[in-house]
Amino acid sequence: MRRPRIAPWSAFWLLLAVLYFLIPMYATAEFSLQTGNGQYGFDAYREILNDPSFKSSFLLSLRLAVETVLVSLIIMVPTVYWVHLKLPRLRRVMDFIAILPFMVPPITLAIGLLRELHPLVTVRQLTWLLSSPQQLILPYVIIVMPFTYRSLDAGMRAIDLRILTEAAQSVGASWLTILFRVILPNLRSALLSAAFLTITVVMGEFTIASLNQFQTFSVYIQYIGAAKANPAAALSIISFTLTWGLMLSILIIGRQRGSQQQAQIGTTR
């Protein structure tokens, strides 16, 4: 059967959305390719790639992103597993805690932590943290927590944890074996999408890094943009491509299980 023709009204709104979404991207791409006097070329990209600060800031953000993924999964996976299995009454509490990072936006979290970290880190072995960008991981784990939690919660709800665990126990598996060889393989897509969204968020995080004066990728883009418009446009395109890649990966991973699109609220704005 042929579909009815598109109502002009629907076409209008969709077209408006397409224009609003795509014009800035097109403009940024073209802007990044301008070399002055109506000429086009990759000068802006070359300039960026030759800047040692680009490499160092990008790698710093990437490293923080990977470390945040690790720390947050190490904390969250056993916790969510344990709550599902042993303490189902705590689910309500966990759901509530997962909203809190939205109520305490990054800018407020940043100044709260700024105050706290100095008196907290009195242990001599930890004082390196005060000057190290690694301290950013502490709030980053909190920022991505709502998403990590919901992703793991949904993943664990979808499989029968109890039966898997009891079956593994009945053949004598230890808790570690259960977690690594039974539970985690079943949570692959939940873990991967949590990881990719975490990377997206950390690569784009500006507020906390800038207040603490660490030159992460976003802080570098801001620094470049304050002086040079074309390289800043090139960086925006690079950053956008990165977001595209990560979000598409989430989509492809989640395809097996009818996943929905993800967005973190109030994080990198």
Partner: protein, 303 residues
């Protein structure tokens, strides 16, 4: 996969309890200590220090002077501007998003439109902050592509008083992350409007308009309002985008917090705490409203 944007309050399902569920008095709670310790240390305590420091005078003792300062014109003005931009972008993004999502779900629209729209929305909702600001500089800044394009047709928008680095410019930029978020949040609710209701109404002789006026909108209203409340909080907490775009020329609360804390203007940490506390209170109120509305809309739009 959990829908992050919608599932802020998830109702825990009740399940039959297996033999593994902890009995009263067992030590099973020890397993969640690391998580609770972490959130206490790096989320609850920072928020608590903010709250107490907002009431602490530099000489020791407690004072309301910083909270009172919030009502001085400069700070009060920042709250008004922040609330105004959050309201405007929540309304514009919300209504725009509703129409786009509704159009994408209609049966006369090719089926591939929807996955494309949600995929792009997923990307755009996460593409915010500094890169977004510079994308708009390239588009609507003084030398921006659209600005130049319009100028070629004799429409010099900057000569006519437009500037990207003002409230209006900021609004246009914010909508870039508000619109996709709205699309992602509202699509599941729109899908909850059952086709059978529509058919039943049509069978009884209702017109398209009557259906939406008496059935569709009343059912959708709580989730619509809830989604906009969420967009409000989303815009209120934005820092990177306005910072990179206006470098502080628009007086917004998050920018002000950054300034008084990092001492770019004048360092006054306790005032920063009071401003931060105000932000937390406003966003918390919006989250509570959202949760209440969500509970209401779940009655009909159970998914």
């Amino acid at each position: 996969m959990a829908d992050t944007t919608r599932d802020i309050t998830t109702l825990p399902m009740s399940r039959p309890r297996g033999i593994l569920v902890a009995k009263r008095g067992s030590l099973a709670w020890l397993g969640v200590v690391p998580f609770f310790l972490y959130t206490t240390l790096f989320l609850l305590l920072p928020a608590l220090w903010l709250t107490t420091d907002a009431f602490r005078s530099p000489t020791g003792g407690y004072t309301f002077s910083f909270i009172q300062k919030l009502f001085q014109s400069q700070y009060e003005n920042a709250f008004f501007t922040s609330i105004r931009i959050s309201l405007v972008t929540a309304l514009v993004g919300g209504i725009f998003g509703l129409f786009v999502a509704y159009a994408a779900l209609r049966e006369d629209v090719p089926r591939w439109v929807r996955p494309l729209l949600t995929t792009y929305s997923g990307v755009a909702a996460n593409f915010a902050g500094v890169p977004l600001a510079f994308a708009f500089v390239a588009t609507l800044g003084g030398a921006g592509l659209v600005t130049q394009f319009l100028a070629r047709f004799g429409l010099d928008i900057y000569a006519r008083g437009f500037s990207l680095y003002t409230f209006t410019g900021l609004t246009i930029t914010y909508v870039y992350f508000q619109l996709p978020l709205m699309i992602l949040i509202i699509i599941p609710s729109l899908e909850g409007i059952k086709r059978e209701w529509r058919e039943a109404a049509t069978n009884l002789g209702a017109t398209h308009t009557q259906f939406w006026r008496h059935i569709g909108l009343p059912i959708l209203f709580p989730s619509l309002l809830g989604a906009m409340v969420l967009l409000f909080g989303n815009a209120f907490s934005a820092y990177a985008t306005p910072y990179a775009l206006t470098s502080g020329s628009v007086n917004l609360v998050p920018i002000l917090i950054g300034n008084v804390t990092s001492g770019e203007v004048v360092a006054d940490p306790n005032l920063g705490d009071a401003l931060a506390l105000g932000t937390i209170v406003i966003i918390s109120i919006s989250v509570v409203i959202y949760a209440l509305l969500q509970r209401r809309s779940d009655k009909w739009l159970r998914r």
